[in-house]
Point group: C2
Chain length 238, copies 2
């Protein structure tokens, strides 16, 4: 229930029903007809997504997530949700859809042994006709037995949820700067050596079983990856 309330609050923020700050807990309690604790749990969720900052004695203030004109991807929304804002406008060209065996890197990150079977998907994604990102994804075949080409052209996470009831519970995120690798150059025909902002994610579901490892390289030189960190902590920070 508090999930639904959280979703609704986020919706109100997006629709600018709430502009500068949220109504007080008392007002929200009244509005949603639930206890204060439930409201607070809902607000916790919204805060965790970096949309609010909380001020004791004052209220909840809405964060403006912008970097001037530069495009921003909010990673605090959690895996799968981060891209949703742009996801509907993205088109995907599937450059590879194949079974492979885990190498050292993949085995390390997926907590499996070398040689375990994986599905490899390489996609070039476009936004408004512009190259947006290139994404290498590896799925554990023990979890995701099969992926159709049609699914790979759309939202894979959606298909995985539909067919295997797997959705992302949490994720580890690594951000670095890289260039395209040989396979990516060959299949895209892009041969320049540009440094690309790169996001590597290990996605976990349910009991925190890693089921997916993906590396996304963004072509847009202006792109910003955003996330919010808060200090839950009272004190010191020494």
């Amino acid at each position: 229930m508090y999930h639904d309330i959280a979703d609704d609050i986020i919706k109100q923020i997006n629709e600018q029903t709430y502009v500068d700050k949220l109504p007080s807990e008392a007002q929200l309690t009244d509005h949603y007809q639930v206890s204060r604790n439930t409201i607070r749990k809902a607000i916790d969720e919204v805060c965790q997504q970096g949309l609010l900052r909380r001020v004791k004695g004052s209220g909840y203030y809405i964060n403006q997530i912008t970097m001037h004109d530069a495009p921003v991807v909010n990673l605090s929304l959690g895996a799968g949700k981060a891209m949703r804002a742009v996801d509907s406008h993205l088109t995907s060209t599937v450059l590879a859809l194949e079974d492979v065996l885990a190498n050292q890197f993949q085995a390390n990150h997926l907590h499996i042994t070398i040689g375990e079977p994986l599905i490899h998907v390489l996609r070039l994604r476009q936004l408004n006709g512009q190259r947006y990102c290139i994404e290498d994804s590896y799925y554990l075949k023990t979890q995701v037995a099969q992926l159709s080409l049609a699914d790979a052209q759309q939202s894979i996470f959606h298909a995985v949820k539909r067919d295997y009831d797997i959705s992302v519970n949490n994720a580890e995120n690594y951000i670095s700067v890289t260039t395209l690798n040989d396979q990516q150059r060959q299949l895209t025909g892009i041969h320049d050596d540009h440094a690309l902002l790169t996001l590597t994610q290990i996605n976990y579901y349910g009991n925190n079983i890693a089921f997916n490892l993906s590396t996304t390289k963004f072509f847009n030189a202006d792109l910003n990856l955003y996330f919010h960190s808060s200090q839950t902590f009272g004190g010191d920070s020494k």
Copy 2:
């Protein structure tokens, strides 16, 4: 109080008192002599740092965070804590320590008007004799009236905490790829055009007032910025 319990649980994990999983909530309730709600809030904090995975009906399992060959800065630890691991080994060369007036960019992010007085600190930081990062920081003079050269050579946040009782409560983080700007080239004598992983942070204290805007450019081409994102969410993700 639940902060202290969270800290203690983390300590027990680090000391391997708890190896595979945590004691049950009932046992922890008994051990710390607090209510179950308080235990759960403490555990929430530990989870948020990515140290635990929670399994309904089963228990809390300790995450084994795998190490990588590439150097990693863990930003999930929260603002101010992220750099602590390396901070003590960093030496800082202060390239600029001056009063400036806020420009458009700074005003936007610090939620102030153009022309407000700021302190600008430009530091070149080294790790084991190697260039590690270059950091531009702007402090609101209304909050931080003065910074000494000695403080700038050490930990500025520590000095700010000591002199003004200001510590970071939460932060907005933007990660992008940039190159050095003119002032940075001039003052460092570095004139190549390398793409650098760049972290822009707006730091808040008292949860509401932005007091610092800093941009850090990392020289290490292998560096990874890490953070953990969890889904608090039960369900769907549609």
